[in-house]
Symmetry: C2
Subunit: 256 residues, 2 copies
DNA sequence: CAGTGGTCTAGACCACATT
DNA sequence: ATGTGGTCTAGACCACTGT
C-alpha cells in the first residue's frame, strides 16, 4: 500500500467523508449539472486516490440523501427535479381515499417586498432584506385545496420575472435549478392547525374560520443554506399530510 | 474462495439481504432482546459464512432503520425504547419557541371494545375484532396539549391491565416491549386539521370548534404488521409538528 | 461487445472501551 | 492487553445497459 497525502480539511475525518466533501464541492461549483452523469467510479477513484469501497461509501451517503442517483449499467447521475418524479419527495399531501396525484398550480400574484422579522430570521437574512413573494393556488381533483405563499431571497432570485413563474411547465424547484442554479437538497416542515383567515378563505372558497393545516417549509441547499420559505394552507377535509409511508429511509422494504 | 450453499429463500437476492433477513428472523424470534448486545461481527460472519463487508452491509441497513445500534469498542445492540431517548424518534410535537421536552402523561380511561370498520381495516384485523382502548391526556409545560386515543389488538395485548398502564414509569412503547414482547420498529402518520368536538374540547379545556392538529398513527412491528392505531388531537397554538429537522436520514450532517 | 454500477472477499490497520 | 466496531484496500466476479 502506498501512503497518500490527506488534504488539510481532514481533521480526523474518515477518508470517505473527505471524498464526499469534495464531491459536494464539485456539485456546488457546478462541475456536473443536475441530470448529468458524473464520472465512472473507476475514474473518481483515480481522481481522489482512493479504492472503490471508499468511494462507494461516499456515494452511498449521497444517494441516501437523494443528491445522486445510481443506475446499474448506465452510470451515476446528479439528482434533478425534472426527472424521477422526485418532486413527490417534497409533496406530502394525499387524498384520504385514492391515489396520490399531481396538483394543478394556478398563479395568483408575485410581488417584491421587505421580509418581516420572522421570515428574515427563518431565511437567515438580515432584518428588512428584500424578497420575492409568490402566491399560488393548487387544486387536486379539480378542487382548490392549497394556498402557497412563497418567499425567495432577492439575493438568489432577484432576476426572477412573473413570466418565468407563469409560463413554466415544471415545478418551482426545477425553475430554481434551471433558471437560477439553485438546488433544493432537502426541506424541513413545521405544521399546525388554525382557522382560515379572510384572504385564504376567499382563495379556497370556504368559510372564514374553517380549520386548515398550516405548513411552514424551509427549503435548503448546500451548507444547509435556506433558499425558500413557504407557507401552505391546506383544506384537509378530503386530503391529508402523509409522513413515513414507505417512501423514507427504508433501503429495501425493511418490514422484515 | 469456497462455494457456500445459498438458502432457499435467496431468489436472486443479494447475499447481504439474506443475512439481514436472517438477523431479522433472529430478532423476531427473540434470540436477542431489546437492549442486549448481539454477537461480534466476527462471530456473525462465521455463523452466516460471509465476509465482514457483507455482514456489515446488512447491519448498516438495520442501524439506518434504528433496529440495531452500534457503539464503537462496545458492540452492537438491539434498539430499545427505554434507552437512547429513542422515543423522541416517534414524538414530533415541539414548542414553537424553546426546546423539545418530555410530555407529562395523564391516564384518563381504558376500555375493551369491538373495533369499528375503519380502525379494524387500518389495523389489518377482521371486522368487529376486539381491541383494548386507552385514553391519555398529555401536558407540555404544565398545559394540557394533546389527547391520545389508542387502539391495541386484543390478540397482542389481551392481557393488558389498567394497573400496568397507570403505574408504568416508562413510555407505552417500552411497555409493549417489556410486557408483551412487541417491538415497535417504525410508524406512519397522517395529519389533518379539524375543529375540536365536545369530548376533546373538555379534555383540553378549550372551546369546541377550536382548530386542532389531528394525527392518525399506525405503529408497525416485524413484517410491517400493525400493532397500534393512535389518534392524537393536538392544540397547536403554542406547539407544532416537526418533520425533517436534522434527525432524519442524514448520516453525517449532510448539509455540505 | 465494452462500460457501468452491484456484490463479495479476505485480509489489514485504526480508534475506542473495558478489564 | 483484549475485544469491539470503523475504515480502507485491491482486487474478483456478476448484472445490467448501451452500441
Amino acid at each position: 500500500m502506498h501512503q497518500v497525502f490527506r488534504s488539510d480539511v481532514a481533521l480526523g475525518l474518515p477518508l470517505y467523508r473527505e471524498v464526499k466533501h469534495k464531491l459536494m464541492e464539485a456539485l456546488r461549483d457546478g462541475e456536473w449539472k443536475p441530470g448529468e452523469m458524473i464520472p465512472a467510479e473507476k475514474r473518481l477513484c483515480e481522481r481522489f486516490g482512493v479504492s472503490v469501497g471508499t468511494l462507494r461509501k461516499a456515494v452511498d451517503e449521497m444517494t441516501a440523501e437523494h443528491i445522486l442517483i445510481r443506475h446499474q449499467g448506465r452510470g451515476t447521475f446528479v439528482a434533478s427535479h425534472s426527472q424521477d418524479r422526485y418532486m413527490f419527495g417534497f409533496f406530502h399531501i394525499c387524498p384520504k381515499t385514492g391515489q396520490k396525484e399531481y396538483p394543478q398550480v394556478e398563479f395568483v400574484a408575485m410581488t417584491r417586498e421587505k421580509a418581516d422579522a420572522d421570515s428574515a430570521r427563518r431565511l437567515g437574512l438580515g432584518r428588512g432584506a428584500k424578497v420575492v413573494r409568490i402566491l399560488n393556488r393548487l387544486s387536486l381533483g379539480g378542487r382548490a385545496v392549497i394556498v402557497d405563499d412563497i418567499l425567495l431571497p432577492e439575493r438568489f432570485f432577484g432576476a426572477m420575472t412573473e413570466e418565468q413563474v407563469r409560463e413554466r411547465r415544471t415545478t418551482l424547484y426545477q425553475l430554481y435549478q434551471d433558471g437560477f442554479d439553485i438546488a433544493v437538497l432537502r426541506t424541513e416542515e413545521r405544521l399546525d392547525a388554525l382557522g382560515a383567515d379572510a384572504r385564504i378563505a376567499a382563495l379556497l372558497g370556504i368559510a372564514a374560520g374553517t380549520p386548515l393545516l398550516h405548513i411552514v417549509r424551509r427549503a435548503l441547499t448546500f451548507r444547509d443554506e435556506a433558499v425558500e420559505l413557504r407557507h401552505s394552507w391546506v383544506l384537509s377535509t378530503d386530503h391529508e399530510y402523509v409522513v413515513g409511508e414507505d417512501a423514507q429511509r427504508r433501503p429495501g422494504g425493511a418490514g422484515e
